[in-house]
Symmetry: C2
Subunit: 560 residues, 2 copies
């Protein structure tokens, strides 16, 4: 006999309460999991709805709707889990109208502000496969072929970076004692993993001391007679490096930020002085970190020289190539990474210039046994003699994102990536040229890669800007002006660039200059799209000019 | 004019080299990214191929092919990235024949050895949507609606755990200063994030000292006059907790493992003694960790009592409910989590009993401002006054896995999850009953949840086992016997249970007993499937008996 139950609480505001029978609930829930022709039909129905959503989404050139935050706040404020299942059709409709409609079109050719891009279309069906297989890479028993696949894909990237002879790879690529790299959820974990390896190695077991991994940092320093342990990188290092330094118990201030030169590369003289200071004070240098593509401007640190400094002090040399690792594919641009094979570890993000979906970073390790410094075991999983990947990863259970990497390396190929990267560079130079010739804009940094830093100059200040006569007050005004411009552009949602603040420009070290920042990596972005982004900014600027009662800088100040 | 190029190196062994024109390569690569009717057709073609693969995969009841490791090694040993793109059709064919065929059927109703399950079918189309939107949750500018959606889903779980009044949630659920929880890649990062918050809080700024986050652990301890800082949990805590303790620079030995009682719950007297010892030695207790569902046997620690001990010493109280959080949905079983609302932080894994795909863990925080202890900013992203989620997360860029969570909470509902969990418990009891009545098997731990620990006893020892007269040598033999059984079962690939080693059974504390371990959470697993798993083991055992020349224990020993 069925029990009648009325569900009259716990429903999210957006969905009306419905009545249902208890037995009906059981059936409905089991149907969600069933493997049958009927179930595949239901799935196909949802799939058709979602394909319609994805196609509309992909066809849109605009970045987002101008929906305000308050309205989204209102939509997503319900805090009770619905008591009974909502109808899938209703939910998907709501999802389309609210969630999808108000997502950011990160693949729009006119969304050139962050490190996202359109993805190759084979990724979309593969994501369904990945979810269906639902492998767990922590352990061979939960992944089997995907464990081997992951090791292979990482081995391929290792070879791209380090280029050891073939028999090195024959030996190590699938050897359970060797770890050529790890797949992690993103660049932050890749950097953290690399520094963790360095930390455990440089503070390892010594003279009866069991090592930092076991005993901890305070004892590890005491045993070595060091006051502090530090990690050194440039002032433009990604914030994840400071975060990692803090997580490891070193304290964020022990990530030492060395000033950069006008090209945003680490100053070698300042680096050498920092290193000498640390040694003088008996501070242990755990690692030196070089940037291959700073987040703000795409600058590449001098790798060979940094590796020499690292070798001199016996420090681990890590390269954060989360963004710039893609240069490796380009015969034309690769020479700028001379010395990358001298790194002990290299971070590359899959979800950046490898055109993989969000959620895949990699760290590659030169020495196949370095990761033993972080190895752990458990008896129900990752047992000591197994080939289980989870023995030497920061994360435990994790998805087989390796499948995307493996597919893209094969379906795009080395030359495909080369073409994509060269194109990005070419289009960035095109945008730089447009910025250079228009007096409304000022190029702030000579682009070394495919990130462009520029700003708009209000009309009344353009002449002074051209003559190099801007005062600190002028620059302050221009900063506010660019913040406003970027906000208006973002809110309108037709095109997008991001913004940052630079401390190192022609205006001197330590002078904060707000910069518009464009990141050009989307293969769909054409010259016309780039012009459309700048035209959109010019339109907004014209509006600002018109609404100003005066063309003086005071007039501009008034309306900011 | 086109340039002819021959690609004769860099091809993986499995694919034949092809010739292609340079201009053709460009077109092929751009076609991968195109948004057009043609591109959607190509995508649909791949989708059809992949749907066929996924349906075959889902219909299979077997766990995996018996393909040997050596053959997979051989298949995935090529280390050169293909120079030119491979044809998608060819690649997908290979993918089906090798990668998919040799993946583990983690959703098989007879794969009841790890914490995986069949997934609800709406997840599969959603995964395509997730990939298409490709949002980055680090920042509002790269996610918009999905930022709000994530906060809502976390707020719902927070309410499920802590049950604060509605106006608490109205205030905090979307407030930029509040963090009710974080979505991370899995339970390991959830535990690490919780402990990081506890670490930064308990070693925070004091008397002119800027805090551990900034200055590091050695100074932080010195300022407090402490010799060591520790984290305390049971001997059955997940290995991620020791890993996290090590990562934070505390050293793995400073994760203190308190013995458990016969039910695998932390011994309260031993806990109190440990805490007293730490205080006597002037050691700072950063956190106490309770298990809600130990990985090995699903045991639940005494939460109320542990929270009292934590409060007494002013330690953070963390609950690792990665596996057992699902009890919260069940009115019948929820009472066993009394005290969960006393925790400062709770880990729950989405990819376990919330039936979400691999790659989503959560940590919920009782105090909406606790996460400020780990906040960081950067000028190109996660700026100080923003609503950006990335300000207070360990990871940086990360996918909108929140979409799966949001959908499942709505499409399964609280009562749907309740039904699923109750069913899992019921079926586990069924399996326990089968094990109890068959003299071939021995139940090792009374199941508290839906994990079952048992073992097979070789025929010659069954009588002694029944009379409780097994010697240490007998147990050693039985251990080897069960390792062999599990290996043969796994290799054959028809059914699957995992194995672990227990130190706490009726055979005494510290006596290592190899246990078969079954985890029953798959809604598709029926009583018949459970019988099939045990029958499969009986068959293998019969084979072992037959191949043995004697029925004595010496005979068994010979063939192991």
């Amino acid at each position: 006999m069925k029990t009648k139950t009325t569900m009259n609480d716990g429903w999210p505001r957006a969905f009306p309460p419905v009545e249902c029978e208890v037995d009906d609930l059981k059936e409905r829930v089991l149907r969600l999991f069933a493997v049958s022709d009927d179930a595949f039909l239901a799935e196909a129905e949802n799939e058709a709805r979602i394909s319609a959503l994805t196609q509309d989404f992909l066809r849109a050139k605009n970045v987002c709707l101008s929906t305000g935050m308050a309205s989204l706040f209102e939509r997503y404020r319900e805090s009770k889990i619905p008591d009974s299942p909502i109808d899938a059709g209703e939910y998907l409709e709501e999802l389309g109208e609210q969630m999808v409609a108000n997502a950011i079109n990160t693949s729009s050719p006119r969304y050139i502000g962050h490190m996202t891009s359109a993805l190759p279309h084979f990724i979309r069906p593969l994501s369904k496969l990945l979810t269906t297989l639902n492998q767990n890479q922590v352990k061979l028993e939960t992944s089997k072929s995907l464990t081997f696949c992951e090791r292979q894909a990482l081995g391929m990237l290792h070879r791209l970076i380090y280029g050891f002879p073939g028999d090195f790879y024959d030996e190590h690529i699938q050897h359970r004692d060797s770890t050529l790299g790890m797949i992690v959820s993103g660049g932050t974990l890749a950097n953290l993993t690399a520094l963790w390896c360095a930390y455990n190695s440089s503070l390892g077991a010594i003279d009866g001391f069991a090592g930092v991994d076991k005993v901890g940092l305070p004892e590890a320093l005491k045993v070595r007679g060091s006051q502090r342990a530090v990690i050194i990188g440039s002032a433009l290092s990604h914030y994840s490096l400071e975060k990692a330094t803090s997580l490891l118990g070193l304290g964020s201030e022990n990530f030492i930020k060395v000033p950069v030169d006008r090209d945003h590369r680490i100053s070698l003289s300042a680096l050498r002085k920092t290193v000498a200071d640390c040694r003088e004070r008996n501070q242990l240098i755990i690692a030196l970190v070089a940037n291959v593509g700073t987040t703000e401007s795409g600058a590449i640190d001098p790798l060979v020289e940094m590796s020499e400094v690292a070798a001199e002090v016996g420090a681990h040399f890590h390269i954060d190539a989360a963004w710039g690792g893609a240069l490796l594919f380009s015969r034309q641009h690769r020479r700028r990474l001379e010395g990358i094979d001298l790194a002990d570890s290299v971070t590359i993000d899959g979800h950046k210039q490898l055109y993989l979906p969000m959620g895949i970073g990699m760290v590659l390790l030169k020495h196949p046994h370095l990761a033993k410094a972080i190895e752990r075991n458990a008896r129900y999983i990752v047992r000591a003699n197994s080939i289980d990947l989870g023995k030497r990863t920061l994360e435990g259970s994790r998805p087989a994102m390796a499948m995307f990497l493996h597919a893209a390396l094969h379906l795009i190929g080395r030359r495909g990536y080369e073409f994509l990267f060269n194109e990005s560079i070419r289009k960035t130079q095109y945008m730089a040229d447009l910025v250079r010739v228009d007096p409304t804009f000022e190029l702030l940094v000579e682009p070394q890669m495919n990130i462009l830093n520029y700003r708009a100059i209000p009309e009344p200040l353009q002449q002074r800007a051209a003559m190099g006569q801007l005062s600190p007050a002028d620059n302050q005004l221009i900063n506010e002006f660019n913040i406003k411009l970027q906000r208006l552009q973002r809110q309108a949602g037709r095109t997008f660039v991001s913004r940052t603040t630079l401390d190192r420009t022609r205006y001197g070290q330590g002078v904060s200059i707000v910069s518009l920042r464009s990141v050009i990596a989307n293969p769909l972005t054409t010259e016309a799209d780039i012009r459309a982004v700048l035209d959109n900014q010019l339109e907004i600027l014209a509006g600002l000019n018109k609404s100003s009662t005066s063309t003086s800088s005071a007039g501009f100040r008034e309306q900011l």
